[in-house]
Symmetry: C2
Subunit: 344 residues, 2 copies
Amino acid sequence: MTTAADAPLSLPHSDATETLADLSEGAVLARIFPRLPTASAQLLGPGDDAAVISAPDGRFVVTTDMMIQGPDFRLAWSSPHDLGWKAAATNLSDVAAMGARPTALVVAIAAPPSTPVSVLEGLVDGLRDCCEALAPGCGVVGGDLSASDALTLAVTAFGDLEGRAPVLRSGARPGDTVALSGRLGDAGIGLELLFRLGVDSNGVPDRARANALKLTHPTEVAAQLTPVPPIASGPIAALGGATAMLDVSDGLAIDAGRIARASGVGIDFDSRCLGERIEVALGGGEDHGLLATFAPDTVLPPDFRRLGTVVAVSGSSWGTITVDGAPHDQGGWDPYRGWDGAAG
Amino acid sequence: MTTAADAPLSLPHSDATETLADLSEGAVLARIFPRLPTASAQLLGPGDDAAVISAPDGRFVVTTDMMIQGPDFRLAWSSPHDLGWKAAATNLSDVAAMGARPTALVVAIAAPPSTPVSVLEGLVDGLRDCCEALAPGCGVVGGDLSASDALTLAVTAFGDLEGRAPVLRSGARPGDTVALSGRLGDAGIGLELLFRLGVDSNGVPDRARANALKLTHPTEVAAQLTPVPPIASGPIAALGGATAMLDVSDGLAIDAGRIARASGVGIDFDSRCLGERIEVALGGGEDHGLLATFAPDTVLPPDFRRLGTVVAVSGSSWGTITVDGAPHDQGGWDPYRGWDGAAG
């Protein structure tokens, strides 16, 4: 992805165009390892059969997520740094949603042999910068490199509960306040803009048009391509008495429905708390905010704002989402139905 | 992959031909979850943002590995059950190579929407059966489902050191005995047979010819497609005083070289211990045995047999491999150079 024009003038041209096929796996790793962020919890890092991570409270939190070129990202829209950033951010957010502090990542990367080494360097730099910005002390402790036709990242993230109980989806109780840390709708708008205006006349993702959108709609496009989930809010919510919590990844209504279903309740949103774009707030995906519930007498932690209330419903209505008491129909994203390969 | 003839007669035909695109992600997960093996160490399993695993000694071991249709496996040769088995086995072996007991896996799977649900069920059954056979108590605690063009499995495995120090690659000392638990060469022969005879006249992997090979060369083909690494030997070696250990994945000579380089020594193999096919024993890949070193006065644990001796060499020769004192040239597998996409 790096062209000669992008490369620092002091680097020989060959460095910028070297591909994975030009180097041995060991040589690629030697280029990547020094760029990896070190985890404070790392007892043994990359280079052996496995890593060893400290888990001081005798438990660890783990989540995994795979991102694939085509269904999950397009290289015309996302830089390698963007991809590394987003792969880290989305996994860190799942750890934070348990009330845990992220401690470490392992990262498996598969790429075509023709991939410039600079793409992998960009990915790793994105992983590092995201960890440093959103979860200081969290680092990459190991990984795997493979060959593939489509660039693929599989990140597994770990967290430390620091002695606390994990905050599950199932703990919401009628009367609890429903609150959010993070933004609503921007990421969904960003994706809609990219699909509508970030493509050429044949509908193929186009770098120049995406770059133009980054200038005209910086907030929305950045929310989609380089999300900044409120990682620190997870442990804060746990300390502040959150009864349930999750990462809002598939849209507020769907994800609130998950808390409601797991808890055997309904959730009623207050339309005055959802902003002027209510449908966007409820339906936009990939917000990566933290949605939590708190007992009615709890003072909300500073990062959280009230969106609604947990309500009692009969068993057949568990999971119902209403807005000002009126039913809300949840649409939704499904990976096997929603992927348009042609637009990938 | 499942045909009507394979399916139990009591199942309606539609069940055997249902694809991922026919079902929502939730419905696919509902089909998969009951088949997952439960981990004894699981404190919170699938269904929330992340899982919680117990780490009784305050640390955990972690390794990750990705397998991709084409470079890493061919559906004409491997059944879904084979793939699940191998994905678990190779990761469990990396955990065992640290001297740890495997406790849990997380598994990210990406598949084309046209994939029959029965393929995912077969994968999961293979993961389960491998865990139950090789690492009782180890289970799958979480995962991720995505869409892709090529079937992709990313497994991350965890282990418990049970209070022991991890066995690193770097602990071999001159005079130590070099020993192996597991077989040498069969998996490499199996792969060579499959590439030479398991293909049609155009070199395309062929199911019928591979099935014929499974009858004529069952040991070699099974060693390649469904390896049975000696997982229990890892903790046993650690308890028995192993000074260094690794999983033999890229061939004995290359992997012995890794121990030797990390330890600042050389390794001399005794040709009488390498069997009649010395080059196969030294060069075959994917053996997934455990290669370990033990102080000279140590009684080898019962699963291990002596292969040679750790020798002192000057700094510029660290990592040197010799056979009966004569230099051995290490070839090697590299994921970005060794992959022939046309043969995938």
